[in-house]
Structures are given as C-alpha cells and as structure tokens.
Symmetry: C2
Subunit: 356 residues, 2 copies
C-alpha cells in the first residue's frame, strides 16, 4: 500500500541530551506524527511535523472524560547501525483493541506502522547507541471535541512521539521490593483493565505513591472480585517460577495482553520449559514459598523488559525470592530478549522489523 | 480571607447564543479561571483570563495517564436577578476528595469558591434567564508535566470554565428507557468509582454507545464483584420508591457521593418520608415489580436534577415503572429542587449561596 504523508521538517533542530542523562520519557525528538479524525472524513491528514505543543479547547473531552488510548514500544540501533522495531504490529493491533473498548474509531494499522517508520527515519539521529539505551515510541489517541456532554467524542487526534531513553538498569538488572496491595484495585472484569487507557494508570498512582513512601518499587495488584488472585505488578505483567514450572495470570479481561508477556510465553515454549497461564492466588504463592518452591518472580514490560522481584511484602509476611538476587531464568530471558532486540542474537521467532 | 486574583479581561466579547439553542456544554463564556501548581511553589498564580485554548506538550501526563479530576455545578439567575449557586462548597470539598484518590495536591476550597464567584460576576451576562436554563460550571484539574514515566505529575493546572446550558427537558420532565448493563462494569471497590475522575467516564462510553444503538437513554450499572447490586444509572445516582419507602444504593466505595443525591436524602428526611441507603439487588427490584410495589425509579444529577425511569430492560425482562410516566414523588422532588435553585421556593435547608 502506498501512503502519502505530508512532511514538514523543523527549522531548528534541538540539542540532543548526553547518553548517560537520558532517564525515561524526559526528552523528545525533533518531529512527531499526527493525524485527525472527524465523523465526516474519518481519519485524515496524516502528517509529520516539528515536535510542538498541542493546542486544545479547555472543554476538550480528553481533559474531562479520559477518552484516550496509548501504546509503548521501542526502536533499537544495532552495532552494525541497523534500526530495529520489536513486534510493532502487535502494538498497533492492541491500540485498536483498546480503542474498541473506549469507543474510539480504529486506525489503519499499516498506515500507522508506515508513519512510524518514516518518523523514525527522519529522527534517526536521536536513536542512542550506548548499551541499554533505545528510542521509546509513544503512539496515542486523544478525544478533542470541545463538549462537556458525557458521550463519545466526534473528533480525535492520533499522535506518535519519540523519546530517547536510558537503560532501565543503570547498574545492571537488579531485583526490586514489591508490596502486595490490599486496599486499592487496578481493574476488574467488565472494566478497562485489558485496554491500554489513561484511567487504569490514573487509578494506580495513589497505591504506587503510598508504596514508594514505604520503600517499595511497585505494588502487586490483586483482582477486584475475590481480592486474592494475582493480576499485574506496577504497570507490568508478572511471572512466577514455582517448582520448575513458569506461571503467569491468564488474560481474564482485567489484565493487559503485554507484548513482552506474549514473547516470553513463546520463548518458553520454544525452549520446552513448562509454562501455564491460569489464575494464581496469593495463598498459592505463600504455600509455594513455605515449601521452598517459589524459585523466581519477575515483572515484564517494554520499559524494563524483565524486572526481577527480590522481596514480596505480602499480608504481613516478607517473602525473599531467590535470595533477593536475579534468578537464572529471569537473567536468561532478559539476555535473550535484549539480545534479539539489539540484533546480537538470531531472531529465530521473526520478531524484529527493520526500519529502512 | 482576602484573595488577590489577577484579572485580564477579554478585548473582544463573543456573541451569545440564543437561549433556545443552548443544549448542554456546547458554548463557553468570555473568561476562565486558571491556577498553576509545581512542587516548589504549590498552587500559585490564581488568575482570570480570556477563555482560550490550553497549550500542552504532547507528553503531558493527562493525555497518557489520565491524572485529572473535575466537578459540575450550576449557577442560576432568579426572577429578581439574583445569582445563586447550589451548595458549591460540597463540590470543592468533593474535588479535594477526588484529588486525594488520584494523588493530586489539594486546593484551597475557599479560594476556589472566591475565584468562581469573581468569574461568574465578570461573565454574569452569560447566565441565561429563560425557564430551565442555567450556567453550568466545570472546575477541573489536569496533570501537565511532560513526562512519560507512569508516576504522579509534578505540575498541574486547575481551571474553571462556564457554559450556559439549556433545559435538560425541552418539553418538560419525561421518563427514559434504561438498559441494565451486564457485560461492562463502571467501577469496583478499591478503584476510582467514588472519585469524579476521567477514567470512570471513559470506561462507561462503550456501554452507553451500545445502549443508544438499541434505543436506550442510559444503562443501569451493577456492581463489579457480585454483578447484581445496583450502583448508578448512566452518570447519575439512582433512587427507587418501593412500597412507600425510598431506597438508594449506599456509598460503598464505588459510587459517587452526588450533591443532588445528598440533597434528596436531606429533603426526604425533612418531609418525614422513610428512606434507606443500602445494597439493592436487581433481584429485589424484580421481586418488588412482580408484587406491584416498584412505584417509582429515577436518576439524580446536576444536569437533569431528576431523570425518571419509565422502562427498565433487565435480564430479558421489561419493567414498566409508574405506567411509563413521571411518578408523584419524582415530580415533587424535581419541582422542589428546581424551585429552590431558581429562588422561587424558600431555601429552608440553607443550600443556596448568592453571588454578589
């Protein structure tokens, strides 16, 4: 398919930050992609423009009713200077799935991927090459109609912005302390938990702030119905290795279908390591721990890839997992995934998409 | 307390829309209130400026993580030209309660009320006088920090915008058809249902759009745990009159503490009409209907005040309530509340606040 994008290049390129000061989501590149929607024309006017502020009426629905979806993925610069994306089709697929839940009109996924590649090529100087760094990509849609009626918007904007990011682990992968949340709930079946939409994150900030005050990196979310089945950790999916078998909560309508989660499931099957997607109660976790069978625990997501859980503070108990160090499987998954993403390992499962 | 607001008046006043074309939340007045927050200065620079677009970085957290709260209330012009607000302190109180759930710093409620009064006085020509019309007031806070980290924002803006609105009932109060929602859930205990925040509304749009396609005005929300206890109707609280007694769902952590809901509870007590706040299952409603005891049903909220439910389509059944017409108590509550709001009835419960 042949898509024509209007491209307006910036007159004044910004200074790029030093590779060791990138952090996460603090700097943005010189350009952005934007496309408009109205009911008459559908999605129209796809264009790349200089990175710039958005001007919206104070009554724009996104400010009041949160009708918005987003995605997160990364581009990598390999040692031989190729630019690679990790399974980008899955992100645009999921964006449309999120939009369906939020009553937002779907986008043309091929157009989105084409536009992303164009944008990356234009801003390719921004992709850092230092080990562990990458270009974080944030596609998102917001409802822009200036109307206070609590109904779906008639107007939207789809944008893609790019942010060079540092290594999630400045000093190598290391385990974190997690608090099992019992007061707040992230999502419930029938709600928006399976969609990547603002409200899920808004609702999680209070618990996260409270956990941080008490020295925890994140919270482990339990389900909203029984308040005992494990759902996610922070804004990541979660895995446990118990007695040689890998477990992760089944997608039940309130859990995000993570791209890294899915990739790990594929890798484990590829490696013939037993893996189960099913309900996992916090009691089962305690029992496995008491029997010495809770071998590893880790969160998975685009930012960290693998985030080992070293300590789980759960219902008055303190579970120290793998002696508070990174487990062998966690390390192997991290090395394999980042190796494939950086083009250092062979892409046997056909995940990487080259931008050229 | 003496608050000093900077006031910048518009150079070009807009043309006001005709009173019979107002609708809801479509037109905005000449000015708006705005105040900034950062971690160093706290809330600062309260000011009234010409109504204008907001310019935000595309990475502003409100677009991605939905950290935002809002309120809705109305100002009325009485026959003798007084300007009245309905219980505005309750709205600013609730705004802070919502903010606590969303990890947003609290505002000075007295300053907010003072600013609102000043803003209304400046734009008082916008308050329509035709019967049923009013000035809808939308205070809201958005997270503005341009950062993609999924954490609480360091910067916020608090704004108040004003919108002249028409009568919710162009041809007098009339009952609506409601669908009992069984697939989607609005909120769950531990989530954000008790807060007035964007995500709750975002999550409800899909169900509302589906209901509209099938000819329903709104959906009746059931709880997310047992999927059988009644919570809200559309974006309103809900009441039932069963065998002479008035029932409304108790505030359980997932239901909004509505100002109109609270006012109706006070009125009913004032009138010595028996009223109960408790869990109400959809089965109880069916049973009452079958026994001929389901006498009235209505939603309550700032926009409609009272919205009678004429038909409830519930789990394959069609319940016709009060013959599909407005019940006597519904009508009496509507007439009393709007009479007090418009200064036509004596304000025995001390609800109205005059702007002067």
């Amino acid at each position: 398919m042949n898509y024509s994008l209007d491209i307006e290049r910036t007159a004044a390129k910004k200074q790029k930050p030093a590779a060791d000061r990138l952090g996460f989501g603090k700097y943005y590149t010189d350009h952005m992609f934007i496309m408009d929607y109205d009911e008459e024309q559908g999605w129209h006017r796809p264009r790349i423009i200089p990175y710039q502020p958005i001007s919206l009426d104070p009554a724009a629905k996104v400010f009041h009713y949160g009708q918005t979806v987003f995605e997160g993925l990364k581009a990598y610069r390999t040692a031989d200077q190729r630019l690679l994306l990790f399974r980008p089709q899955k992100n645009f697929r999921r964006l449309n799935q999120s939009s369906a839940r939020l009553s937002i009109p779907s986008i043309d996924e091929e157009l989105a991927l084409h536009a992303l590649k164009q944008l990356i090529l234009i801003d390719q100087d921004w992709i850092p090459s230092k080990k562990g760094t990458s270009l974080y990509i944030r596609p998102f849609i917001i409802a822009t109609e200036p109307s206070l009626g609590a109904s779906s918007s008639t107007h939207y904007q789809f944008m893609i912005i790019l942010s060079p990011v540092g290594s999630y682990y400045a000093e190598g992968i290391h385990p974190v302390k997690i608090h099992v949340e019992t007061e707040y709930v992230r999502a419930v079946k029938g709600g928006t938990g399976m969609a990547k939409t603002a409200g899920n994150y808004a609702g999680s900030l209070r618990a996260q702030d409270d956990a941080a005050v008490n020295g925890f990196a994140q919270v482990l979310w339990l389900d909203g119905v029984h308040r005992k089945y494990i759902e996610e950790v922070g804004s990541m999916n979660v895995f446990f290795k118990i007695n040689g078998k890998v477990l992760t909560p089944a997608l039940n309508g309130s859990i995000l279908d993570g791209v890294v989660r899915n990739s790990i499931l594929e890798l484990l099957q590829h490696w013939n390591i037993p893996v189960e997607e099913r309900m996992i109660s916090i009691d089962e976790l305690h029992e496995a721990y008491d029997n010495g069978m809770l071998e590893e625990a880790f969160g998975t997501g685009t930012a960290a890839v693998i985030s080992p859980i070293g300590e789980l503070h759960s219902l008055g108990r303190r579970l120290v997992i793998h002696g508070g160090t990174t487990g062998e499987l966690s390390a192997k998954l991290y090395d394999t995934l980042t190796g494939i993403q950086l083009g250092e390992l062979q892409d046997e499962l056909g995940w990487m998409v080259q931008v050229s």
